[in-house]
């Protein structure tokens, strides 16, 4: 036995007595094993013994974990459950086995205008939409300052200075910018906003009518406020202020021509649209009269009614009349005519609802719009 030989060199060496004992054991073992029956018995015993040892190992393990209180949480998870919570180690997946989300877009809905927008744009939007925040308050204070200046200079016959353009003018602008560089997502919003602005357009028309007839100066006189002005007034106004229509408040920018918020391009676009309207308006005037006459109405009658109804504000009346024609012309000109026709019909309805003092005035207008429909 070579094992025994090597053993002698080690400090744990067996003494000669023990060596003898070992040899006697070996001898006895060989003796016993030569008997196959004993060998079988011994092998069986050995197997049982090994199994018992394994059992005891498991029992110790479980007993220990039970005493330490680790067993119960372990027991709650059967095999399948654990596999669910295993850490995934696949390439391209995170530890939960989910593919990485490249970019998560969180959409916020503005509580004030119910528009959905990206979370990163939400705070700036809210600042503008609710008129709060540093920048907005600064703009507001400046606007107040401008307001007092302009009224003292008697720049406008209306007392309001919050210029807003609603309806199809906005649409025109949008369409133009759509043609240039607009994302498809924005065009959706534009459509919706147009729907909104159409209704507000009708309302604003009636309000502007009220203000022009001297009833009250509405601060919200929006779209028509600028349109109600005569072309030369419009031009003087636009030569003094920036005039770009804000996307959020739908009002004209009342700051100086070099206001940093808007670009020169925007200003130019707005002026271009206004000027186009003007030129068309001038060519439109005779056409209106022809229309009125063709309807069998006496123009003089209409004019006297106009003068009487509006009274001392006849100039304004003409202004609003011209605005009406202008608007009609636009409804002719603008290409997506569906929403425009809705807006003009609502505005004509509103006009009919207005005070009876201006009946001739509206009559003319409603006639005019009807002639347009012809």
């Amino acid at each position: 036995m070579d094992a025994e030989v090597s053993e002698k060199k080690l400090p744990d060496m067996l003494s000669s007595e023990e060596m003898d004992a070992l040899e006697s054991i070996n001898r006895r073992f060989q003796e016993l094993m030569s008997d196959p029956e004993i060998l079988n018995e011994a092998a069986n015993f050995l197997v049982e013994d090994l199994i018992d040892e394994m059992t005891i190992g498991v029992v110790f393990e479980v007993h220990r974990s039970a005493k330490l209180g680790v067993l119960d949480p372990e027991a709650d998870m059967s095999g399948e459950d654990i596999s669910k919570f295993k850490i995934v180690d696949d390439p391209g997946l995170d530890v939960f086995g989910q593919p990485p989300v490249i970019k998560k877009f969180q959409d916020c809905i503005c509580p004030s205008c119910n528009r959905g927008l990206a979370a990163s744009r939400f705070a700036p939007h809210l600042e503008k939409c609710m008129g709060m925040g540093r920048n907005s308050s600064r703009i507001a204070s400046r606007r107040i300052a401008n307001n007092s200046k302009e009224t003292s200079a008697a720049m406008s016959e209306d007392e309001d200075d919050e210029w807003t353009i609603g309806g199809d003018r906005r649409k025109k602008k949008r369409d133009r910018s759509n043609g240039n560089t607009k994302k498809p997502t924005k065009s959706l919003k534009v459509d919706r906003r147009n729907g909104d602005s159409n209704s507000s357009f009708g309302g604003s028309v009636s309000e502007s009518l009220g203000s022009s007839s001297g009833n009250n100066a509405s601060f919200d006189a929006t779209s028509a406020a600028l349109e109600a002005k005569r072309p030369d007034e419009r031009r003087t106004l636009l030569s003094n202020i920036c005039g770009v229509v804000s996307e959020h408040t739908r009002k004209l920018c009342t700051r100086s021509l070099r206001c940093p918020q808007h670009t020169d391009e925007q200003r130019r676009a707005l002026r271009a649209s206004v000027l186009v309207d003007e030129t068309n308006f001038q060519s439109e005037i005779p056409e209106i009269q022809v229309n009125v006459e063709s309807l069998g109405l006496d123009p003089d009658d209409l004019l006297s009614g106009l003068g009487g109804g509006v009274g001392s504000f006849s100039g304004v009346g003409v202004g609003s009349l011209s605005r009406g024609s202008w608007e009609t012309e636009r409804s002719n000109a603008s290409s997506p005519a569906d929403s425009v026709s809705v807006s003009s019909s609502t505005s004509s309805k509103k006009r009919e609802k207005s005070s009876p003092g201006k009946s001739s005035n509206h009559k003319k207008k409603s006639k005019h719009s009807s002639s347009h429909e012809l």
Partner: protein, 118 residues
Amino acid sequence: MSRFSERRKAVESSLDHQNHDGKEKKVIGKRAVNQHLTIEGDKEKFKELLRRRLIECGWRDELRVLCRDTIREKGVNNVTVDEIVEEVTPKGRALVPDTVKKELLQKIKTYLHDKAFK
């Protein structure tokens, strides 16, 4: 080192047992086999083999469930290791697959045979 001290213990115990020759031959045979395996260090080899086989066939998990049930039955605070062993051992023996048992038996037999006729 531990192997030698193990051997030493086995030898010592065998020296004690040599004094009781009047015992039954089978018992002596079993003891002799155990002694021999322990001395040669081959018992660990068989144990490792058995452990691997039993883990493969899920016997360990089954036994663990049995232990857990026993502990729950008696209450975690009242149970002792002896009680668990008493309860679990017969079931554990029965649960060992026959193929595993046979394989181990065969291996031990050939091993002993080789040793005996060396």
